[in-house]
């Protein structure tokens, strides 16, 4: 039983290979680091996993539901909406809405209903309940990061995906955010996949997927 299954995924841009024979599985509740330098292909892989981009070859499944190749773009969209919580590198909170408004909107769009009790509970767990009515521009970087994580969690995802969540943070804050993501994933029983070039996060993860020139090398962190 796997949460995410990626098999033989390949992608090229203008004949230049970006991903080659990429395969890996994520078990339910696992915490995995996708580690690679800029240009290694990790963002492209993440886009394919999220169903935002189609691979040239290979297949991606979330549980039993196909993301790639999908019957249609709408089918891939539905899988993403129902089962994934995504934390973008630039956080992407809707600036016109409060933190709470962002969370409620995400719930409504992804699950079709609002659950204010869950929203308030997640805000409390992440320690930003007192900032629920603040607009994104009024938040500190740390608060905005927590708000983005909260937005990904309020849809009760099977898979929590974070793209470079610590790229702009100092060492202490990077470890704090990593801890936050791990705790949040554990609390919501979601698998966690973090794509990053930040090796400072290695000690937090039991499994690492190193990606280099479009190829995956799977390893297990013991330290």
């Amino acid at each position: 039983m796997t949460t995410l299954c990626v098999r033989d995924v390949a992608l090229s841009y203008d004949g230049r290979p970006v991903l080659e024979q990429v395969s890996f599985d994520l078990a339910p509740g696992s915490r995995t680091l996708l580690l690679g330098a800029s240009g290694s292909g990790k963002s492209s892989l993440l886009n394919i996993v999220c169903g935002l981009q189609s691979p040239d070859r290979g297949e991606v499944k979330l549980g039993e539901e196909a993301i790639a190749p999908a019957r249609s773009a709408a089918a891939a969209d539905r899988v993403r909406q129902r089962h994934m919580g995504i934390i973008f590198q630039t956080l992407r909170l809707v600036s016109a809405l409060s933190v709470r408004g962002n969370l409620l909107l995400a719930q409504k769009l992804q699950t079709g209903r609002r659950d204010p009790a869950l929203v308030d509970s997640v805000l409390r767990e992440l320690g930003i309940a007192d900032r629920a009515h603040a607009r994104p521009f009024a938040l500190s970087q740390g608060e905005a990061q927590r708000a983005a994580i909260a937005r990904a969690l309020v849809v009760r995802p099977k898979l929590l995906i974070a793209d470079e969540p610590t790229s702009a943070l100092d060492r202490d804050n990077a470890h704090r955010v990593a801890g936050l993501l791990l705790d949040a994933a554990k609390a919501s029983h979601a698998s966690l996949l973090i794509a990053t070039h930040d090796e400072r996060l290695l000690p937090h993860f039991e499994k690492v997927l190193r990606i280099e020139r479009g190829r995956i090398e799977e390893g297990r962190i013991t330290a």
């Binding site: 492209s44 999220c50 935002l52 981009q53 909406q81 973008f88 809707v94 600036s95 016109a96 909107l105």
Partner: protein, 426 residues
């Protein structure tokens, strides 16, 4: 999605307020024009119904009509009392209604006349009785409502045709007695005080055939009096040389018995007397033509403002779509359909237009109410503040359409956007 659209509008309050204001000004202007054009035209037509000809002193025929029919200008002068008999004896004349002007009560004109005036307008008594003797008065419904006066109460008239501070001279020596109040007619009669024309002479101390009132006195005549024309040297159309105050009238409202009257009576008056005959229908048409050109200019300005408002919405939304491409792409990734994201942008335009149209509509009707309360001429025209016209619904729909049209291109732009590409790019 509507709450998100409103949140985006609130996110840029200055731009949104400016766009709403532009649309509101244009809607207010256009509603004012519609109301003014419709109500004024209707009012003029209603007030002049049944009056084929107005006979008065020489001067501007338009001024004669405005003063004698619509009661919004000063009379051109006075005419001899015997002109009434002259016209009433004519077989082509069905009705000749005498009018003697000169005073007001709380800004409402006192019209000296006889029973035929009420018959002309189909005015009926709501309470009391009609006047029988000089110094008895019947109040129009609006006068009674505004002043609180009713049968059995006395009031003192002021000199002049309007309630003007500098022109006011009270006639405390000659109080009127209210004997009746009329039901609302929707015509100028509602804002008039009717009394026998002898009252006007009595108040100004002018001798006449009927027993003189005990209030009669010598009075320095002023402009607009039935006994004192407003143009020096034109005291009477038939007795140009007389300087003693005489019993005169201000005008006669004539209704023909048959079509022959229309051919003969104006010619008779204009050629064989020192009076003039003016046709309300043609003077009203001339007035509306004169007004029409100005109103058309303002209408063009109103629509230009509306188009400017639409362009402002277009520019604001286009900038918004550019700067928030990421936000909107995120909505798509989170599960919003293309149509939902398209509708969010479209709704911003429509919501702006809704606020603009609503604000403009209320502003226009509020302005009419305020103007009616503060400007006697508008009040005399009988402009009603809260009587929306069906055309206003079309106008509001057009403005909403404009808002939607202005938002269409920015909405289409976001409809076509590749959300994954935008998010992947960032």
């Amino acid at each position: 999605m509507i709450s998100l659209a409103i949140a985006y509008l609130k996110d840029r309050p200055l731009t949104s307020a400016l766009n709403v204001a532009l649309l509101a000004i244009s809607v207010a202007l256009l509603v004012l024009l519609l109301q003014f054009g419709h109500q004024a035209g209707e009012r003029l037509e209603r007030d002049a119904r049944g009056i084929d000809l107005v006979v008065g002193a020489k001067g501007s025929p338009l001024q004669l009509i405005l003063s004698a029919v619509f009661h919004i200008d000063r009379p051109t002068g006075n005419i001899p009392l015997d002109s009434l008999d002259l016209l009433r004896r004519d077989p082509a004349v069905e009705r000749a209604v005498p009018i003697a002007l000169g005073d007001n009560f709380a800004g409402y004109r006192i019209v000296g006349t006889d029973d035929s005036f009420m018959a002309l307008y189909g005015a009926e008594l709501a309470s009391g009785r009609t006047f029988d003797e000089p110094m008895e008065a019947v109040l129009g419904s609006e006068v009674a409502r505004a002043t609180g006066a009713g049968p059995g109460q006395a009031f003192v008239s002021s000199h002049g045709l309007a309630d003007e501070q500098d022109a006011e001279q009270g006639h405390g020596h000659a109080p009127f007695e209210t004997v009746g109040v009329l039901v609302p007619t929707g015509t100028v009669v509602d804002r008039l005080v009717l009394t026998p024309y002898e009252s006007v002479w009595d108040v100004h101390g002018i001798a006449h055939g009927r027993p003189e009132s005990e209030h009669a006195h010598d009075h320095e005549s002023a402009a607009g009096d039935a006994g004192a024309p407003d143009q020096p040297g034109r005291r009477s159309a038939l007795t140009m040389t007389s300087r003693a105050p005489e019993a005169e009238l201000t005008a006669l409202l004539v209704t023909y018995r048959n079509a022959a009257g229309a051919l003969r009576i104006p010619a008779l008056v204009n050629r064989q007397t020192a009076m003039q005959a003016a046709v309300p229908a043609s003077e009203t048409a001339r007035l509306l033509d004169l007004l029409g050109a100005s109103l058309e200019g303002v209408r063009v300005l109103g629509w230009l403002l509306a188009v400017t408002g639409g362009l402002a919405i277009f520019v604001a939304l286009l900038n918004m779509v550019r700067s928030r491409e990421g936000d909107l792409a995120l909505l798509r990734v989170m599960g919003a359909s293309r149509m939902q994201v398209f509708a969010t942008v479209l709704l911003e335009g429509v919501v702006t237009a809704v606020f603009g149209a609503a604000l403009g509509w209320f502003a226009a009707h509020g302005l009419i109410a305020a103007a009616r309360a503060n400007f006697a001429t508008l009040s005399n025209l009988g402009l009603a503040a809260w009587h929306p016209l069906p055309e206003e619904l079309l106008l509001v729909a057009a403005v909403l359409g404009l808002g939607a049209l202005a938002a269409l291109i920015p909405a289409l732009r976001i409809y076509r956007v590749d959300a994954a590409r935008i998010l992947a790019r960032s």
